[in-house]
Amino acid sequence: MTEFLFVAAILVLITLTLSLARVLRGPAKVDRMMAAQLLGTGGIAILLLAAGSGLKAAADVALTLALLSALAAVAFVKSGERLATRTKNDKQP
């Protein structure tokens, strides 16, 4: 059974490698950020599979990642706004 969970983890790892292509190619920043989100969820899935195969502490790591995964997306979305307001101000003499 542990073998099966590891195989599943390897498959998720392969999908992560593929979605890395979206981070590489973009084209928009949003696309890269979305791909990073998918990688985050995939990482959580791998950790849960590890927890299922007996590494209990992996569930705590997965919980930490789940809590913090939104932080990067939020920082990204909001920081773009900050930049927009600043460039607007810069144009004024």
């Binding site: 790892l13 920043k29 990073a36 990688l39 950790l47 590890a50 502490a57 705590d60 990642l65 930049l83």
Partner: protein, 317 residues
Amino acid sequence: MNTDLIFCMGLALLILGVAVFVVGSREPFPAVVGFVIFGLLVSIAWMCLSAPDVALTEAAIGGGVTGALLLVATARLGDSSKKGQKTKTPMGFHGLVILLCVAVSAGLIAVVLTFPEPAPTLALVALEPLESTGVKNPVTAVLLAYRALDTLLETVVVLLAMAGVWSLAKDSDWSKTPLFGYSPEPGGPLVLLAKVLIPVGVIFGIYMVWTGSDHPGGKFQGAAILAAMGILGLVAGVTSVPAVTNAKLRWLLVLGPAVFLVVGLMGFLSVGYFLAWPPGLSKAVIVLIEVALTPSLALMLGLLVAGPPRQLPTSNS
């Protein structure tokens, strides 16, 4: 070949691939996104190395908090630098650099492949007095029993770094509050997100500290999670930071290190050494220090990300 070995090889290759991308990408933003992913993958690698305490630290600090810090930094610095875009490193120098880096890596790999068998270890030495401390998580015991001086100085380093960040404020902004980049916008999915995630995060952060003496976890991991929740609240506009001149804030910041130092000095009275815990009370003392350090560390880490105090950027004037 075993499946876990194949998994680890794939993970190591993926980590290296992301690292090449972080170094080689042309624009800074993709590099930062790559670095966030890198932190995530490395925390899985720590699980493969049977170091759950380190994996938790890397997940909370390496992936989450650092990611937010760097994403906001790239947005503020802009996409392209005016200078340096056209400058090219001379070919000869470039070749020399590659040679140097390859040599460093090759040397380290040679060391890895010729590690002594059996491996030297301090595990048995560290385990021996573990029983007397009453702490079941050996990593926590190391951090607060044998290497307490490291941990004390580390909290001071974090405090100094935070003071350094504050010192970068403009004089006119000194009485303002640290902002995480922009004015919060009330309403919308962000507030909902903050209202759901923050209570769960705070409970989990406290759980992390509480469980840390017996299971993987501890004050650094807990404090990092609490700090991340604070930043989330700051961005969503549901929490706010007082001005850096606020006396309560400052007291709270030094509370942890101060308690640690005082308890450490008491070691002179009870046992005769600095940072020596009285026999039989080790666990109580360790838990006291952990509890006192957590709010201070959480504030320090959060304020490090929030940056120096600044004037609220006016968006429409």
